[in-house]
């Protein structure tokens, strides 16, 4: 592991008043890895993503992306450097159609200074957007306003929008949360297929152990703002500390029953 990691966090701290949401986090992720992050609610997973993407400044510590410090950069700058993210609750433009959502994302990805007079819709853009929607299997919803499409579709559109700028790294924040149980695996399958095809480094936060262990090569376990385990899925999930503090708290039996 001598190559420069694509993402490196050093001694990250973050507190909200008396609550510490991140405590001495040290993480190195190499290009091409697919890393899962597990932890119960409030363990600091989303806080970690928020800090890495510039949404939330860490109280202390250092974050490097491709070896360069990105501390203090706005989310848009970090996005432009090639780190995109999706959201726990799909962050879309509800009154716009699915296609327009994609087109807006695309036009911004094409230029940081979108045009005032040239139309958003042009043939090339629409084609690219449609291709992207088709990749995720949601092309059928093209002309539906986001408010009228199912939750799972929204999650996919959300991820498709994150991917449309061809990022080198993608952070997925609970991609299957809010999705019906029986849709979770199909959804993850299509997501992972696309991201693999794009060769993107992925870090994804997930409650569900089964989903995590199925798709990732490495797991980080968070507890109370700290990384308590880091390693291959089998090793981490067998860790007694993880068993006690994370798995025991998650209550994920239901997914198991369902599958």
């Amino acid at each position: 592991m001598t190559a420069t990691p694509i993402l490196e966090a050093r001694n990250l701290y973050r507190s909200f008043g008396a609550v510490t949401a991140a405590k001495d986090i040290n993480i190195r992720i190499q290009s091409g890895e697919v890393v899962g992050v597990i932890g119960s609610n409030g363990a600091g997973k989303t806080t970690f993503i928020n800090m890495v993407t510039g949404f939330l400044p860490p109280t202390a510590g250092e974050i490097l992306f491709n070896g360069r410090s990105i501390l203090g950069q706005a989310p848009r700058k970090i996005t432009r450097m090639g780190m995109a993210r999706s959201f726990q609750v799909a962050q879309l433009f509800p009154e716009l159609t699915v296609l327009d959502n994609m087109l807006v994302a695309l036009s911004i990805a094409e230029s940081g200074y979108p045009s005032f007079l040239r139309p958003l819709r042009n043939a090339a853009r629409i084609e690219r957007a449609e291709t992207a929607l088709a990749e995720f299997g949601v092309a059928a919803f093209r002309d539906h306003p986001v408010t009228s499409v199912p939750q799972g579709t929204r999650k996919l559109v959300d991820i498709a929008m994150a991917l449309i700028g061809n990022p080198s790294m993608l952070l997925l924040d609970e991609p299957t949360s809010g999705v019906a149980v029986e849709e979770k695996f199909p959804l993850m399958d299509s997501v992972m297929q696309v991201v693999r095809r794009h060769g993107v480094t992925v870090l994804f936060v997930e409650h569900d152990m089964e989903i995590v262990s199925r798709y990732v090569s490495r797991i980080l376990a968070f507890y109370a703002g700290e990384v308590i385990a880091d390693g291959p899925p089998a090793q981490v999930l067998d860790d007694p500390k993880v068993q006690e503090l994370v798995v025991g708290h998650g209550g994920h039996g239901r997914t198991r029953r369902a599958s």
Binding site: L92, F93, P94, E95, S115
Partner: protein, 314 residues
């Protein structure tokens, strides 16, 4: 990209037809339309911001700057050319907006509304204090020329034609804006600002650009109104004037670029008749109309047309 689409052709056609209407329409009607279209331009400024999710309760600021620039330009600086005056108005408004925008774009929702109101009231205060500009009485605007030609007695007619022209051109440009990337990004900002940031563009910068553009558009309307009425006064910056613009914006809705012009015409008409027939309670009528629109036509009058079309189709 320079192809004129159907809506644009219609807008230009309507502008031309209305301008030619100067030959046949009675002069009180052309005046009413001059004011209505000029106000429509001011309202376009409100609407551009509404599309991006910002409601300005102080658009009177730029309306007033536009009017005063035309007034001061003619009365004190010696610029009489209508086109030069209008360009100056827009430039002055844009310059002010560039400064205020730095602060204002940090705010959203009612904070934005209240701060815009405050700035517009500060201008009102300054102008009320400026005796050289006639204080609260304001001052009269000189007759304008056009590229060296003095319309003389036909001055009002010229301003009418000019207003139709400005309105049509502005409508086409604003129509393009609403279809453009920025137009859609602004809508996206209204819907979800955080996501826009994460897509890689600064919502604040987009709103800033929108704010400045809206200021210039409103100033254009203010300048035209100054030329048409021949008088400007600080009342233009008073918050109730801005309230009127919001009223018109809601009346028309934000879904079509022609809506503000139609709404402004309707507003002027309704108000004229309300003042004539119920001089003691015309405000109440406006209030009920406004409530009715909010409750029954939340997307503005334009939605009426849309609905009938959709029904006809179904």
């Amino acid at each position: 990209m320079m192809r004129v689409d159907r809506t644009e052709a219609w807008l230009l056609g309507a502008g031309l037809a209305l301008a030619l209407g100067a030959l046949v329409l009675p002069s009180w009607l052309t005046f009413l339309l001059t004011i209505a279209f000029a106000k429509g331009l001011v309202v376009q400024g409100v609407v551009i911001q509404m599309r991006a999710g910002l409601v300005s309760f102080g658009q009177g600021l730029y309306y007033c700057i536009g009017g005063y620039t035309v007034g001061v330009g003619g009365q004190m600086v010696g610029v009489h050319d209508a086109f030069a005056l209008l360009l100056l108005s827009m430039a002055a408004a844009a310059a002010v907006a560039m400064v205020l925008g730095l602060l204002l774009t940090r705010y959203r929702e009612i904070f934005f509304a209240m701060l815009t109101l405050a700035f517009s009231m500060i201008l009102y205060g300054i102008l009320s204090k400026s005796q050289s500009l006639g204080s609260t009485d304001g001052f009269n605007v000189r007759a304008v020329t056009a590229l060296g030609w003095a319309p003389g007695a036909g001055g009002k007619m010229f301003v009418y034609v000019l207003t139709c022209g400005c309105a049509a051109v502005a409508a086409v440009l604003l129509h393009r804006l609403s279809k453009s990337s920025v137009g859609h990004v602004c809508e996206a900002i209204r819907e979800n600002e955080v996501r826009v940031e994460y897509l890689g563009v600064s919502p604040r910068w987009m709103l800033y650009a929108t704010y400045v553009l809206a200021a210039a558009t409103s100033a254009l309307g203010g300048g035209l109104i100054g030329m048409a009425t021949g008088h400007v006064d600080p009342e233009m910056a008073y918050w109730t004037t801005s309230g009127e613009f919001i009223f018109i914006a809601l009346l028309g809705g934000i879904s079509h670029v022609a809506a503000p012009f139609l709404a402004a015409t309707l507003f002027s008409t309704v108000r004229t008749y309300a003042i004539q027939f119920v001089p003691h309670s015309w405000q109440m009528i406006l209030g009920f109309v406004l409530l009715g629109i909010i409750i029954f036509l939340p997307k503005g009058l334009w939605s009426l047309f849309r609905r009938t079309k959709a029904e006809a189709r179904a």
